[in-house]
């Protein structure tokens, strides 16, 4: 890389990240750094001033994606409650551009009720679920999005509870925009984030993000890279899935845009 290009890149990330908070605290191979990068790239591409943004996050590894790294207002709150805190801030100051970034345990389990009701109210905010399908920070316990048969520290013989499809839940609750992607499909994920940032109403993006430390090593992934590449095998684009025979979709994760309804219109 040329020195000039390097300096340009540095200027760009310094606009968005607090240097004193780096390096990021995530484990080697964790997808959450990619989620952060996708969010910032989408903001840069959308021309939004980062200073106008408020990031609210909960407890768990994903709660540390924005806080305190992003050079904006950040609010790191109690477990499961970021959407409720964000609702208060957004209603009192509608000029704030609000994004909630949190994990599957935070948003789908302990905070599930707030997710449902913010979607029902169609509160103007973007909610990104950095979904690693496990409780990472507390030591790798089963979460509501953990797949059947997956080994975790509380399901040593394999998970017997079916996972929750967050996109279907949020769609049923009335959100304006519902989409899913993964950190493997980076450009796709960035395009969904850009779309969400430019819409009015409640936007939800389920962003699958691997956890090699707690999930990968207990479920026989040879490496973090292997787990990342597995996202490609597991996922199928909505357009392809619509044309595919249903029996081929068993165990497949569908990615794409499920609901697109701009409340501005």
């Amino acid at each position: 890389m040329s020195e000039k290009k390097g300096k340009e890149m540095e200027a760009t990330w310094k606009k968005y990240l607090r240097k004193e908070t780096l390096p990021l605290p995530f484990c080697p191979g964790c997808g959450h750094g990619i989620v952060l990068s996708a969010i910032l790239r989408a903001i840069e591409a959308s021309g939004i001033d980062i200073k106008d943004m408020l990031f609210v996050s909960g407890i768990g590894c994903a709660g540390w994606i924005p806080s305190p790294h992003i050079r904006a207002d950040t609010m790191h709150v109690t477990h499961g409650r970021p959407i409720a805190f964000a609702t208060g801030a957004k209603l009192f100051n509608p000029r704030l551009k609000v994004m909630v970034v949190s994990g599957d345990g935070d948003l789908a389990s302990i905070g599930g009720n707030h997710l449902i009701h913010a979607a029902r109210r169609d509160i103007d905010m973007v909610v990104v679920c950095a979904n690693n399908e496990i409780y990472g920070m507390t030591g790798g316990q089963v979460s509501p999005t953990t797949g059947l048969g997956v080994k975790t520290t509380t399901t040593l013989a394999g998970n017997i509870e079916p996972p929750l499809d967050l996109c279907k839940l949020v769609e049923a609750a009335g959100a304006s925009y519902v989409a899913r992607s993964t950190v493997f499909h980076l450009e796709h994920l960035i395009s969904l984030l850009k779309r969400a940032l430019n819409l009015k109403g409640f936007s939800f993006i389920d962003a699958l993000s691997p956890c090699p430390t707690q999930y990968g090593r207990r479920n026989l992934y040879a490496s973090a890279a292997e787990q990342l590449k597995d996202l490609e095998k597991r996922c199928i684009l909505l357009q392809e899935a619509s044309a595919a025979p249903p029996e081929t979709l068993k165990d497949k994760v569908i990615i794409g845009e499920f609901v697109l309804r701009d409340s501005k219109q």
Partner: protein, 378 residues
Amino acid sequence: MSPKIKNLLPPGNYFFEGNQACAEAALAAGCRFFAGYPISPSSEILERLSWRLPEVGGVFIQMEDEIASIAAVIGAVWAGAKAMTATSGPGLSLMLENIGYAIITETPCVVVDVQRAGPSTGQATRPYDGDIMQVKWGSSGDYQIIALAPWSVQEMYDLTIQAFNLAELYRVPVFVMGDAALAHLRESCRIPEEVEIVGRKKASGVAHFGTDELSGVPPMASFGEGEGLIITGSTHDALGYRRTQDSDIQQKLVNRLNEKILSNVGEIIETEEYFLEGADVAVVAYGIVARAALAAVKEARLRGIKIGLLRLKTLWPFPEEKIRALEAKKIVVPELNRGQLVREVERVAQAEVISVNRVDGEIMRPGEIVEAIKGVRD
């Protein structure tokens, strides 16, 4: 610091119930955000503010539960609002984790706790002083909050305004401890022409979460002002950065969160004294029970008993010095519970302490306190 602002309602005497007075006081104090969840016996506050807040350009939302209500209040405060919620014992239990968040992030806010008989669902429409300890100790860790105990509809008004002012002065959650009887009692409430209001102490480009003083209260900023606020419920330094492994910062933060209240008890605590000079027996009471206590004290004095009343308007921080200074040989503490605040009185009193209780969901009658007083003297 304390500008007088014109009241929203035309000044005069209103025939209000306690909950109405509380809602109007919040508006007069500058409250422009309310998030709540229906629960007896506090719901009239929620109902009134649902139409009154939009009238004054404020925001009202009925949230999905009490956890979300206090969360939305804290979020709105950091977006620049003066904000309040109202609940009762079971709802307060749900709010306590986020109240801890408000304490550690030094978020000024007001929580009205219209107490009812418990435990659990208990008797939802009956009065009780059930949350005196819950409000002080219910969240985790070591902290101080401020709790005020009105004894009349007028004080549901006055102390709600006071609660907003104290919240801003000390950046702390402040509780207004009503009860089912006071909430629905109707009596005259004087709305003054002007009320004294403490505005938010704000500053930019400074540390928003710490000062060098042990008992200091740092200034705040709001979202959207370009401050790049870093707010977290984890232990943090003066700039807001998480410092979860630093023992010095943990110690400094916890001590300051406590000392900013404890070093200012002289400014915070309010009590009223009746006939205490030369009294052999002192009654210490708060809330609606203090009304019965005053009637009982007057009656006992007619019978020649040297007795006085110390009425606590502030419950937390506990008015230790006022109790310690009592010269009476015996102290009677009537409460609508099995004896909660009496434990604090016992901790500091220089005299024998007698607890008088009522736990059947009825209010205390003056006669019961008179009987107790007679028993004490014998």
